[in-house]
Symmetry: C2
Subunit: 328 residues, 2 copies
Amino acid sequence: MNITVIGGGVGCARFVKGVREHAQRSGRDHRIDVVVNTADDWWVSGLRIAPDHDSLLYALAGVNDTVRGWGRDDESERVAAELQVWGTAPEWFTLGDLDLGTHIARTAWLREGLSVSEVYRRLGARWDLGVTLHPATDAEIDTHVLIEGAEPIHFQEWWVRHRAHLPATGFAQRDIADAAPAPGALEAIARADVVLIAPSNPVVSVGPVLAVPGMRDALLAASAPVVGVSGIISGAVVRGMADVCLAAIGLETSAEAVGRHYGARATGGLLDGWLVDTSDAHAVDALAPAGLTARAVPLWMRDADSSARLAADALALAADVALAADAH
Amino acid sequence: MNITVIGGGVGCARFVKGVREHAQRSGRDHRIDVVVNTADDWWVSGLRIAPDHDSLLYALAGVNDTVRGWGRDDESERVAAELQVWGTAPEWFTLGDLDLGTHIARTAWLREGLSVSEVYRRLGARWDLGVTLHPATDAEIDTHVLIEGAEPIHFQEWWVRHRAHLPATGFAQRDIADAAPAPGALEAIARADVVLIAPSNPVVSVGPVLAVPGMRDALLAASAPVVGVSGIISGAVVRGMADVCLAAIGLETSAEAVGRHYGARATGGLLDGWLVDTSDAHAVDALAPAGLTARAVPLWMRDADSSARLAADALALAADVALAADAH
């Protein structure tokens, strides 16, 4: 079975680990692809940083710091201290030493002329991930945050330096009009038996992937059902600051609102199915009139078991909506 | 008094520290400039490395590793281990973590469009060096080593990986024909009261500086006497593998041969004076017929005292040859 996941960052990493765990337990052959958000990538100190990708890479490789929730395990920050003295890296952005190794290698390869996709392949080849990561696009589409009465700033500055406290009026991916989906992403979507939208930030992680010209059409043209998993539980974000991002684009922080935001395929949206938490079961009936098949299951990913169970629930919903469509 | 030193690397660093020590002890105002060899710079893992400059910077700042003789003190190599796993840095070239901070900052600034001279200024501004470092040129003139029956390789690969054991037939600085002296280097030479050639490798450290088109003319046009200090003592190199480099260009490893190689100004060469070690005193008489005023003094720089004394001896010889020229 070919499973293609869309998302990025830590929530996506946990979910994809669940998908991989479920696939391994099932004993059947699975191919798992992830189309990764690249819009929170940025240049700092002459190096290309790719937070959403690296969170996935490190988590799938089992070398992530599970206590902090991001970065490499057993990390140190000797180089970053030097970069701050030299004035090329801000003190508000952590650059671990092992992590910098990744950034240096990535930048070296990009400077050699490799595409982002090729860099993903080289980075992913180090470990037996059991998952193939693809950038949404090979183009640079760094998110900039629109702020009332001020110049737009890079998403990382807004997110990390200002902890999303500067009032944002919107998000824009620069040069995205000229971007195209990476070939590997298009292939992964085309061959998918099911597409899963990870419980990542809908605005700044999933949103930019879908905003790459051609990506939404590729998803709608694919034969696979598309099932999303809410990153909002009981009106709150599981981790991160997605609530601020949702508010900035005028959306309520609720599983129902995010479901409506992605939209039902029947009404021109993206989703065939939508998983909400059991605590948000009321959204199932509320979304039915909008043509969206929602289902309430436990969404908390506490460990390998609960993550694998969530993956199984998402695949089951995909199978059910596909069957219903066939019957229809 | 304006003292301008030409050279690069560890031998030069010790000598310049001696010049600085002597100047401080003298109690008079001195301005010390160093025109630094850039031909052993290279790109590795997407980063620009400048070994001769960094040896000077770290030694003058007092943050160098005096046991190993190169690199930063209290160094670690966590990032380099990652780069070797990623395959972007060879295992035979040591990249310390603190040192990598310098390389990352330098590369970031170069990528921003700063000249090598501007990068030197930024790096030098971190500490109160009491010395201004200038690149010989802002152009990239990386030395490549010519090897019989094989393609030329970068100097660092020959020097570090092969420990200079691959038989070299010559050295070539790529694109040096299009290079020009950096403005700061020209100014330092023009305002110098004395120019000192450091006891650096004559072939691959001092040689490329002099080979930058316009550099030799600038030295000959300057009013300052030029005094060189031999890096060869008793027919052997003090440190490094200069003997192999000298042999590759057909020169004997002796203070006398290197003196002849630089040549006396009277016969179209560079030098007004040449300091050899007391153990090489025989060279003084041997070089006289070639028009070169040589003097034998203790050349070993064991500590601050002996280095400062050597600097004083070099300045004294410069004063004497200038007086003799005036009398003439």
